[in-house]
């Protein structure tokens, strides 16, 4: 409310004194290395990595499903590990390397023609999707799963007797458990598990 009223203004000032309303900058300059390219952005602190990708960089591969970490549609890789980009504040990821579905294929810079990532190939081959909305998140998540298993990350279904630190075998049960943060409303789960298994067999973790 606009006010020229003296007491009200004094009141506002008193409140302002007790609790400075915005003594802090609400925006910052930051750099995100997205799919190999550094982008310098000045963003409101409220901007998530997902919104930075979609709204500021025009990369709409990562999808917004729930915006609360519950569906996995926004999954990207941050410094090689999968994460829900809807819960990452862009300012806190300053300097990090982010890989999205757009950055998985080799030669997408036009150099020697596009070669899909083994997981993209596997999803196509197995027809592991219906509407496709969850697919970019599924594929980025699966890329993370292959690396995590190779790095010896256990899962909830890994037997406690499995050796620590050694690469973990990706059985279908392991794939299901490790992919449980990615929901698919179309129910393409059986094919998704098969596709991830194919990529595992093709040595997808190294690509």
């Amino acid at each position: 409310m606009e006010s020229t009223n003296q007491p009200a203004a004094a009141d506002a000032q008193a409140t302002a004194h007790r609790q400075p309303p915005l003594a802090y900058d609400a925006r910052s300059e930051l750099v995100l290395h997205v799919n190999g390219t550094p982008y310098t952005l000045t963003l409101d602190h409220r901007t998530t990595v997902l919104d930075a990708l979609r709204e500021h960089l025009g990369l709409t591969g990562a999808k917004k499903g729930c915006d609360h970490g519950q569906c996995g549609a926004c999954t990207v890789l941050v410094d090689g590990r999968r994460a829900n980009s809807c819960l990452l504040l862009a300012v806190a990821q300053d300097g990090r390397r982010i890989t999205t579905i757009e950055g998985l294929a080799h030669g997408n810079d036009g150099a020697d023609g596009e070669r899909l990532h083994p997981l993209q190939e596997a999803f196509l081959e197995r027809d592991a999707l219906q509407c496709g909305y969850c697919t970019p998140g599924q594929i980025c998540s699966a890329v993370g799963v292959l690396t995590e298993a190779a790095d010896g990350f256990p899962s909830h279904v890994t037997p406690y007797t499995a050796a620590s630190g050694a690469p973990m075998e990706l059985t279908p049960d392991e794939i299901r458990e490790r992919m449980s943060g990615n929901l698919c409303r179309c129910g393409a789960y059986p094919r998704i598990v098969e596709a991830v298994g194919d990529a595992r067999d093709a040595g997808g973790a190294e690509s």
Partner: protein, 328 residues
Amino acid sequence: MKPFGYLRAGSVEEAVRAGADHPGARYLGGGTNLVDLMKLGVEQPPLLIDVGRLPLDRIEERPDGGLRIGALVRNSELAAAAPVRDRYPALSQAVLAGASGQLRNTATTGGNLLQRTRCTYFQDTSKPCNKREPGTGCPAREGAHRDLAVIGHSEHCVATQPSDMAVALAALDATVHLHGPEGEREVPVTEFHRLPGDRPERDTVLRPGELITAIELPPARAAAHSCFRKARDRASFAFALVSVAAVLEVRDGAIQYAALAFGGLAHRPWRARAAEEVLVGAPATQGTFGRAADAELTAARPLPENGFKVPLARNLTVGVLADLAARD
């Protein structure tokens, strides 16, 4: 979401000083709970102090044979670490039973311990809630409370503490290391979370501006086995209805040592001391395990919709202890 300032702390001292200078500011770990609550309007900090890059991301051996876990160790790294998997399997299993692979890569040890209740009224700013807005009432008591507390609750709040990790830490006698404006201190995990009483807005005994710097585990008992088990509505990626973490040492058929903690039953990880008393010295049999669970659960006061949690907790306890007793 309300606009907010952002400060990246370069050291623990800088973080704590900023925390003291800016009442209402919040420390940002992985942000998987805080950012979520900011989107919902439940949290409206004027300033975020990002502690995510502090050098508290290591797991270190202690001279006494214990383990020190930095507050910034990511949940996935914690669960995979060989000393954790090999000596404190219940902790690794508890972390792996929580959230999803993506979330565990982002979530930190400190943030996990401080995650807030999943009570739906708490998360909905259009509803009253004593925890979010003291004095407005507790609609969960008469409303949706199937997932909420059966023990240690009060007329003011029946929320549960949702962290799976905290349940294992409670059974393992871990301590929380804190650094605040008034210096450093240690609090046992079992005394870190509060019961709601008439102050449900306070989840823990954390003082304003205090930062969690580490969690420390005492040396693991060489002859004991430990494990964590969780019952939930779906096979994966769901919060616990009830969970159990247990440490058991049996010699010649008799129980030498027992530690037991429940998740999903209360406003804090529920260390089951009454059950432990029944266990220690008794024969390691199904009968003993059942009696131990009953000794603890007689204090349960379930609400109309969550009585199922009591037999569920009992059955989980008997199952977990029987499995541990059968190992060797």
